[in-house]
Point group: D2
Chain length 98, copies 4
């Protein structure tokens, strides 16, 4: 079951993402990042990898794509904020984009 | 080369889409639609088909996905409004969603 | 952990697939089916859905695609034959192809 | 329209691929290569990029996937051998795998 991260959990799972260009947003608390790729094909192929992982983790992004750019927003709706799953999916998305 | 649709072109290529739940928006002129699928997997698989067609037509959507919903916005940036390509991609997206 | 299906398991999980055009093959025991779609795009989009499920189930097909056809072979390598996972993935592939 | 490559065309478009691990096969003449990726997800994401290009070029591979491996065979059916399209798709597949 998902749980809202407490302060220690936030420091452990979310804080390091801020250094990797993720930004905090509010209402509800979420993390957001914009990725840029070489082409639409590279962007969409990355989305395919993330889509497979999203289903495996049972945690899905809100994401917006136009041409080679993808804007991602992660939050955990059933807890009304950030859970450990947001940290896990964010790290996975970063590593798949390398 | 893309050209802005004139009134006759608009009536021919865009007007019929309004009956298929596409909505006009402005600045620049664009058409928008929200699709809803049975699951994230069905939504993403439809996006894959659309992505292949977008590359074939060399015309790409602005689209936003969260779980089983996809919001699409089509416009032709280099003419600052709607071209025949928006009509073509919109019809294709509709037929791929059936 | 995967287990080789015994006779009762085979009757329950594999036998019904034979009526849905799956065929048995040997060395090791496997089930095979050929799917035909309207186009390459439809074939590949179905493969995308199956790929997501394959990762979720942690069980992957051997599959061959040319244009609108996909030949699938399912077996469970670590048990040297058929396990319940082959039945599960086969049924999923059939339902995604409908 | 597709044309069978003559000897000069073969030297120009196919010969360099032999150095990149493509192999010639016969009946009909074709080129084949096996790619290996880090994971099923990486393999399938590469297939997605190739699928988009295949549709753009209107030239489709015969390909076989099991887990992280993809075996590709390229030939041009309507000329009964190799055409320039096989060279183009092969080079594209190599560059997408880098």
């Amino acid at each position: 079951m998902n749980e809202l991260l407490d302060e220690a959990g936030f420091e452990l799972h979310i804080r390091p993402l801020i250094d990797d260009d993720w930004k905090l947003s509010e209402s509800p608390t979420a993390i957001e990042k914009e990725y840029k790729f070489k082409s639409f094909i590279e962007a969409f192929s990355w989305m395919t990898k993330c889509a497979i992982w999203a289903e495996k983790l049972d945690h899905h992004p809100e994401w917006f794509n136009v041409y080679n750019k993808v804007k991602v927003k992660l939050t955990t709706h059933d807890v009304g904020g950030l859970s450990i799953k947001d940290g896990t999916l964010a790290k996975k998305m970063d590593s798949l984009a390398e």
